[in-house]
Amino acid sequence: MSKEGKVGLTICSTAFEGLGRAQAKALGFAELPIAVIPHPFGIRSRDEIHQLAAQCVTEVAKLLCQTGKTVSTLRQPTSVGAALLEAPDTLEEINRLFMNNRWSDGLPIIPPTPERVDAMLQGTDRHRHDIISKVAPAFRAATVEYIAINAVMAGCYPEYLPVLIAATEAVSTPHFNLNGIQATTNPAAVWLIVNGPIADTLKINSQGNCLGPGHWANATLGRALRLILQNIGGGLPGDMDKATHGQPGKYTFCCAENEAASPWEALHVERGFQKNDSTVTVVGPLGTWNMNTHAKDANDLIRVIGDTMAFPASSDYVHGGAPWLILSPEHAHLFNREGLSKQNVKERLWEASKLKTSRLAAKDLGRVQNGRREELGILSPDTLLPITVKPEDINILVAGGDGTHSVYLPVSGNSYSASVKIKEFISTTI
């Protein structure tokens, strides 16, 4: 509002004051008035809210009438480039410096020396000061140089850089809602999916343990994106990243699709890209939930997966979400053998995962009613809630190795995945 020339005021609870002030500063309004109310706020009774309003109205009125001040936030033009600093030349001292400044993710880093960063920049034809996107919640400029610095720290090779450039563009797609993902109390990670020929070239694992350890590209690409989100986007745990618990996937979360083992068109082809295009897709999952089932036919498999998706504390039902499934090749082939396309599976799961409103907590039902009123109208206790607005919003990836396991990934509210073509990779394998 202040940007639009109006007197603005924000109200938040004590737990979110730091986030509010940090984001206001990042957006150029360091002195935005903020009225702070006690946390926790959402669980209070109606009477308590009434008393709280009576207590804080004086402060609200005072803040609306206070004199505004000129902001004097330190600015540094991005064209100058990243700042160099001097550090003792031992790995231990450098890591201590990065740990103390909170420039790492808690793990040791590869020191981003000018030589290593210059070598990393050989992975792209882009100019080092080109701005790829503004990364929420601080909305700082992600230049190619800053992406490269964080890629070095994560242990990436120069040929990985185009993947990270595309991923940094993808996370800033408006419908991905990175601001929500980065600042939420939910354990929202950013999952990086790679499709197309570049996955084989870079040896990004799509098979057994594709979300587990053991593969350099998966581990370092996911880690680099996390460092970008933290050091460029400002999503620093405890500051603007308000996750109640977080999750291990916030260290690294990257895999490729097992296109060779899938009976269906690949994710990027489904989204309109050519088969020989290479793409990254970013998703905001809240966790991974293994589904081990020896279901022998499609009906049985649809039923158990649908039941797994339909849990009452799921954000997806509140907002009309966009959850993901990683089907193992065995499960995907079971569906395909019975003539089900990927779209057929989505439609069947959309029906099978409907959730009775009476299973929700009353306050959560109120949130559903607010968030999905236009779509669903007035809800009754017997209303069956669809998990997404339409079946197509259920997303399916085929990945993993042998085994009767598939994975369900609920997704952060109001976030829809985004796919971007990796522009600097030209396939030689077609």
Partner: protein, 96 residues
Amino acid sequence: MHSSNCSLYNPVAPIDTPEATLLAGLESLQGKVVGFIDNAKPNFQFLVEDLSEQLTKHYGVKKVITHRKPGQVPVKPEVLAQMVSECDAVITGSGD
């Protein structure tokens, strides 16, 4: 003791948004229009209801306009435009 130093890049990108100046506050709330943007978090709509009543009753606010977001998403441009054109001040909810 360290025998030598090395040069390293600072990985943290700087704030680069343009400098901004906050408007002077209102002289008073008498006769003013106040907008609320409800972030749809639990209980915030009740706080908005109560503050609206108090601001109108005790501070002379002429009118309150309220918009409740469907979830944790940015305000739609048309809603923002309405708030800008009709309100003297706007109060937003942030966080839980």
